[in-house]
Amino acid sequence: MTFSQQKRMSYYLFLAPGLLLFASIIIFPVFYSLSLSFTSFGGYGRPVFIGLENYARIIRDEVFLHSLRNNLLIVAISVFGQIPLGFLLAYLLYRRMVRHGSLYQTMIFLPITISPVVVALLWNQIFSSSGIVVAIVRKLSGQPQYVMKIFENKQWAIFPILCVLLWMHTGTYMVIFYANLQKMVPSLLEAAQIDGASESQMLGHIIFPHMVGTIATAAIFAISGSLKAFDLIYSMTGGGPAHFTEVIAIYMYINTFKYYKYGFGSAASMIIVLLAVGLILILQYITGKLEQRFE
């Protein structure tokens, strides 16, 4: 064996454990799930090939379409809610526009350190029909039958959950942005200030271009996280009532584990993967354009 062959061999040897692990826990399940998605596998017996029938049924299913709509709303609140708000908070802290910055930083970041199940229980204690807010309203209004009707409305039931998601995840983005803002060279902003640049000019021409890459990365996290949203929603509502707050991950879970439709559930999971890849590709395209503009 020549030296270069030995060198190449050693690369492969060092790569092998990681690659094997990656293949066994990521690549194999994805391809296995893909192959199952073309079958009517029910958990036992031989999987029967049925082509694209699972996908056709999913696309025609109004429960899936409503779940997709809910997922897209979560993507929207993440990308256009959590990220701008996180950026704004990080900017306020970085520019020292508020006193006791570290206290606010801790307060805003705190929700993300709490388990989603605990968060769900907490919010349920507040807003459910047996919760504290409803009890107070019943007492004050003298209406013992009062309930918060928003949770029983097909179109609006997801909105309280969106608020919880906004409250819960904004802190993560704030910390990411704050850390990246601190990497900026302070003299750059000082020079701009001496040259008479306003706060908005500094934000638009110096800080924002510097942060485009970070914002894009945050948006990728937000999109992928939003499409696989499960724990908080399942703990809060279980997707109910009547599928009103269901998202695709819960739709997949119910079909797979409650109805024993492994093939069908695999097709739903493939749709999540495709949606995530599609949205991230669009985002990368937009980011590329923005980076070109600011170069």
């Binding site: 036992y44 017996g45 013992p144 509502t237 279980g238 109910g240 009547a242 409650k258 109805y259």
Partner: protein
């Protein structure tokens, strides 16, 4: 030299792998203090370990069994709610099913029973069949197999009644559905809930109300026909049962925001005397024994939902099914199977049933009424003896149609589906999947 050493090490490691794997998969056999061979069996059970009533009660049964059988060691793993079923499926699919498993008689654990992963208990049970309620001895498999030995008879629809509140409001137990509806405004005006029921999980309305109303509106012979494909779930009599649920909801007879209330809230409201009636299953008596005060137990009674107009089924009937019970892994050896059967027979047979009866359950094993039983248990036994029983829908229909039906009942209460659509969609699903 180094290369040789490396090759040797790799070779030995490869040879050791199967031995290690084999050792990891070998069943545990130990010896007890007396030197006898102790057999260890894994058990997967449905239990909420935080439940202050059922968890200690179950542990008491285990302690009694292990004391009487020092040669058998049971190692328990618990699951609760959907997590129990998720894990059971994973265990079944990965070929790691425990030795003893809690199973259901209907479709709920069919991925285990239909796949032939558990033993038919009939050979072990031979000669004891008459000692159980008829309902518990109905075949669970396609060829009449008994996959699990039912521990209890589950009456899924009992109208628990607070007679003290009724008296205070100047009302009496309603004999007809119209009388019940007429009581609604009086009860609500007093700031109380007419019928406490928590339906966030969607199954209570089906299991505790719909099944009973279908029996009343359609009768058992109709349901037999529907299961055989000779009657349809969009027949007018079935739709009529759905219309009654819709009317009860529209006239605010159920707990406010019932579809937002977690299961358990219904019982809480009843125990705290915020509700005059409470509809739930016989299993709730188990909790009532501990949660109701001695005084409360004197004026709480177990009743049937009143008769409905144009009733075809039996007067004051309810819905019931044989409950869950333990089954055993098909891969067990003869010796392990005998040990597993000892536990199953202890739990669902005379000894365990007598203990569970004292805890407030309604065992499938025929027992005399205990003289020292809690008043609520005596009331349950008396109630079970007098009421006619129809089908529980989720014990006879497949998981997906029932799951969809449960959700559609919620839709119907919100007005997003009509009673007719609920019936039509159930019929369509049952037809598509097979009856």
């Amino acid at each position: 030299m180094n290369t040789k050493w490396l090759r040797g090490t790799i070779l030995i490691s490869l040879l050791l792998v199967p031995a290690l794997l084999c050792a990891a998969g070998t069943k545990e056999h130990a010896e007890d203090a007396t030197g006898d061979d102790v057999i260890t069996l894994s058990v997967y059970h449905f239990l909420d370990q935080t439940d202050k009533t059922t968890a200690p009660n179950f542990q008491y049964l285990v302690d009694v069994f292990e004391k009487a059988n020092p040669d058998i060691k049971l190692t328990f793993e618990y699951g609760y709610g959907e997590a129990f079923h998720d894990k059971l499926q994973t265990l079944a699919m990965s070929g790691q099913l425990p030795d003893i498993i809690l199973l259901y008689p209907g479709e709920r654990t069919s991925q285990v029973t239909n796949a032939g992963l558990v033993q038919d208990l009939r050979p072990y049970l031979a000669g004891h069949e008459d000692e159980f309620a008829d309902m518990a001895m109905q075949g669970q498999g396609q060829n009449g197999e008994i996959w699990e030995l039912p521990e209890d008879i589950s009456i899924t629809s009992i109208m628990f009644t607070n007679n003290r509140l009724l008296k205070e409001l100047g009302l009496t137990l309603p004999k007809t559905y119209e009388e019940l509806l007429a009581q609604g405004p009086t009860i609500r005006a007093a700031g109380l809930i007419p019928i406490s029921i928590a339906n966030k999980d969607a199954w209570p309305m089906q299991s505790c109300v719909a099944g009973m109303l279908v029996e009343r509106a359609c009768g058992v012979p109709w349901f037999d026909k529907a299961l055989a494909g000779e009657a349809r779930f969009d027949d007018p009599e079935f739709i009529y049962a759905m219309e009654i649920i819709k009317e009860l909801s529209d006239k605010q007879m159920f707990s406010p925001g019932t579809n937002q209330l977690s299961y358990g809230q219904g019982l809480d409201d009843f125990v705290q005397e915020k509700a005059v009636y409470f509809i739930d299953g016989s299993w709730t008596v188990n909790n009532m024994v501990g949660e109701l005060t001695a005084e409360q137990k004197t004026y709480m009674s177990l009743e049937s939902f009143p008769d409905i107009p144009r009733q075809i089924g039996n007067s004051l009937s309810t819905s019931a099914t044989a409950g869950q019970g333990f089954g055993m892994n098909a891969k067990l050896t003869d010796r392990e199977s005998q040990a597993a059967w000892k536990w199953i027979w202890f739990y669902s047979g005379p000894e365990g049933s007598a203990i569970r009866q004292r805890f407030g359950r309604l065992p499938a094993y025929n027992l005399d009424e205990p003289k020292d039983a809690d008043p609520m248990i005596k009331k349950l036994i008396a109630y079970a003896a007098k009421v006619p029983m129809g089908y529980v829908m989720d014990s006879v229909l497949a998981a997906e149609p029932i799951g969809t039906f449960n959700i559609n009942l919620q839709n119907m209460m919100f007005g997003t589906k009509t009673p007719k659509q609920v019936g039509q969609e159930l019929e369509a699903m049952v037809t598509a999947i097979g009856r």
